[in-house]
Amino acid sequence: MNKILKKEILTDKIHMFEVEAPQMAKKARAGQFIILKISDKAERIPLTIADYDRERGTITIVFMEVGKSSTELATLNEGDYIECFAGPLGKPTEDENYGTVICVGGGFAIAPIHAIAKAMKQAGNKVITIIGARTKHLLFWEDKIRAVSDEVTIVTDDGSYGRKALVTEPLKELLTERSDVKLVVAVGPVMMMKFCSLTTKPFDIKTMVSLNPIMIDGTGMCGCCRVSVGGRTRFACVDGPDFDGHEVDWDVLQLRQTAYIKEEKTSMDRYMSEVNKDGSRGDI
């Protein structure tokens, strides 16, 4: 049982929880994830760590309402307890001093890229961060990103804020202009990570991505999160979640993420009809 100390609605359907977890906060590192479960019948949900505070003993997570589980998670409030909260899981991002590092975060993955940029900065790197979203009101944490980056580029698909571009465009320009970039870290939707990897490939710059396949236990036991990397089957939960983006088989990852679309819809439809009947969340 872990208490939610702070809740913030960052933007439309994107929420932040600061969760009391002192022992975990001591161990947490950027790139790792937690698994939470909010009730007896709920799923185990993996979420990448967005921030941690060792002094206050907190872990920060950010999530977007997508299906039933995340929508239900969003109904929890400050002071509520999360029934199960396990972590930190997975291997941390390798935060050495590389020199210059570009961090790319898209959508709600602006949160985990914040943790990674912060760790890269603390490791002594020059950090250039690119964040992107579909439109202005889906952007968040600009200030937090700026605080841990030497340079920041913001893009939106529709040009409503920052530059009208996809994250790959400034990424390509930076790689063309600068010769000191040693590493690119990209976190976001599969398509974004795939195209970031394709963008950096001709420049031969090492590119790490954080994969988010479907998981159950998250401790290396079930193999549901297996991904194909460099022709080998790896488990994202224990071998990752960070992998070399140039080696990832993106098609396999993308198809595996769709395995339960039908069931996710069944679950969501049922939940919404219950919520509407109940009236407790008639606003959504």
């Binding site: 396990a86 036991m221 679950s267």
Partner: protein
């Protein structure tokens, strides 16, 4: 033989196959009081035998059953207590050696352990020790519903032990050490205690409320259980020792699932048995959408492998609605490693055994779903290192089976998290933790190990036996240090 009344044991009632394959209710229904009494009378340990010289001796003085039990339960004594109608005494005798009788009475391979050497076997069926054990355990659970367990008062020794993993090995160690007065804290990675008893073995073989009751019993001995704690991540074994624990027992379980490493294995609809069983048992996906975790509903399912886990997978697949379930096994029926009873149950429920068959490739559709499995026929050659005849592919024997799901049940290899994060821990070349078989000691002072992490995948009772031996050695160590 004197005292031997019938050669046939009392059979246990089962749910009818046609009915049970549609539900997750327990298949074996257990003995009634009368049945238990009748069966208990078949044990001849205390029956006198008149010798030619006029002396009488016991019919069965050697207690081969107890010798065959990995945790050394005083079997003739608990059976006598059943016969005498002294049920609480029967419970106490069982629990003195075995903290989990409700589990063992259901899932132990008694035919190759306690019942294998039963002297009654010479004249017919052995005494059904497992069924009697289950009867006693279930009686006790019934009593507990009337009056809940009280926490036992045990004089504390002041020593503190961390037990990593709350499966059969961990629960045994925790129970035994707590009974001796040591403070035990268990660290469990998942959101419930019980390990493989919860995520692996299905409800219809081992109801989860039975497991929960056994866990509650261990808790009533004063054991603290920390759920959602992945040792190696939130805290390492080294840190446990540094933070004031006098000893650590590692029982993290089997670990990572093996795959075939053949083309198409990452298609949707292909699961490890661990994933499939975890979804079904731990996350209760057979109750989706009441429970949130789904499991793919399939029409034709191929289960690769023929061990107990494979049998569990086939029978779960039937129960969530598969029309056809196939076992795909590269050797012959003779080499099938699953318990005979499990194979029988699967056959009764309509599982098709495709023996001497080996999958070589999976084929999928444009959505990434598996649709077909290419197999080849095998033949058996000379025995290999395991003593079983080695299978060889028959040339040009490839054929295809249309499937919409495949479950890979080939076993597991050790999860690296604990070995990677614990210093001075010697490993075997299989990646398991090097462990003294008799004491559970590892190469590191203060750390013991048992269960699948020490031996590779094995049975519940062998893990409990290892836990038993480790607890004994740990107790001595704690008293002397």
């Amino acid at each position: 033989m004197a005292g031997l009344k019938t050669a046939k044991s009392v059979s246990m009632r089962n749910q009818e196959p046609a009915e049970r394959k549609k539900n997750f209710e327990e298949v074996a229904l257990g003995y009634s009081e009368e049945e238990a009494l009748t069966e208990s009378k078949r044990c001849v340990h205390f029956a006198p035998k008149l010798l030619d010289d006029g002396r009488t001796i016991l019919c069965c003085p050697e207690r081969p059953c107890t010798k065959g039990c990995p945790v050394g339960v005083d079997i003739p004594d608990f059976i006598k207590a059943v016969r005498d109608g002294e049920m609480q005494k029967a419970v106490d005798i069982l629990k003195a050696k075995n903290s989990l009788p409700g589990v063992c009475g259901r899932v132990c391979p008694q035919e190759s352990q306690c019942q294998a050497e039963c002297v009654v076997k010479d004249a017919g069926d052995p005494v059904e020790i497992g069924r009697l054990e289950r009867y006693v355990a279930d009686w006790e659970l019934g009593q507990r519903k009337k009056s809940p367990l009280k926490d036992l008062k045990i004089t504390p020794t002041g020593k503190k032990v961390a037990v990593v993993g709350s499966g059969p090995a961990g629960l045994t160690v925790a129970g035994d050490l707590a009974k001796n007065g040591h403070k035990v804290v268990m660290y469990e990675a998942l959101h419930v205690a019980g390990g493989v008893l919860m995520y692996g073995i299905p409800e219809f073989r081992l109801p989860k409320d039975v497991v929960m009751s056994e866990v509650e019993y261990v808790r009533s001995l004063g054991v603290e259980i920390k759920l959602d704690h992945v040792v190696g991540k939130i805290i390492t074994a080294d840190e446990l020792l540094e933070s004031g624990y006098d000893a650590v027992f590692l029982g993290p379980g089997a670990g990572a699932p093996m795959f075939l490493n053949i083309e198409g294995e990452n298609l949707n609809g292909i699961f490890s048995a661990n994933e499939f069983l975890t979804r079904v048992n731990l996350m209760k996906s057979y109750l989706f959408p009441d429970y949130d975790t789904p499991v793919q509903k399939s029409r034709v399912v191929a289960v690769i492998g023929a061990g107990n886990v494979a049998m569990d997978a086939t029978r779960c697949a039937l129960r969530i609605g598969a029309e056809q379930v196939h076992i795909i096994y590269r050797r012959s029926m003779e080499e099938v490693p699953a318990r005979h009873e499990e194979v029988e149950h699967a056959l009764e429920e309509g599982v098709v055994f495709n023996i001497l068959t080996n999958p070589i490739k999976f084929i999928g559709d444009e959505k990434g779903n598996v649709t077909e499995m290419i197999c080849q026929k095998m033949e058996l050659g000379e025995p290999d290192q395991s003593g079983r005849r080695r299978p060889f592919p028959i040339k040009d024997s490839e054929f295809s089976i249309k499937i919409d799901a495949a479950i890979i049940a080939l076993g597991t290899y050790p999860n690296p998290v604990i070995p990677e994060t614990t210093s001075e821990l010697e490993l075997t070349r299989w990646g398991t933790i090097k462990t003294d078989e008799n004491t559970g000691r590892t190469s590191r002072k203060g750390i013991w190990c048992g269960g699948d992490m020490a031996t590779g995948a094995a049975t519940v009772i062998s893990a409990m036996g290892a836990g038993k031996r480790a607890a004994k050695d740990m107790d001595e160590y704690l008293k002397n240090n």
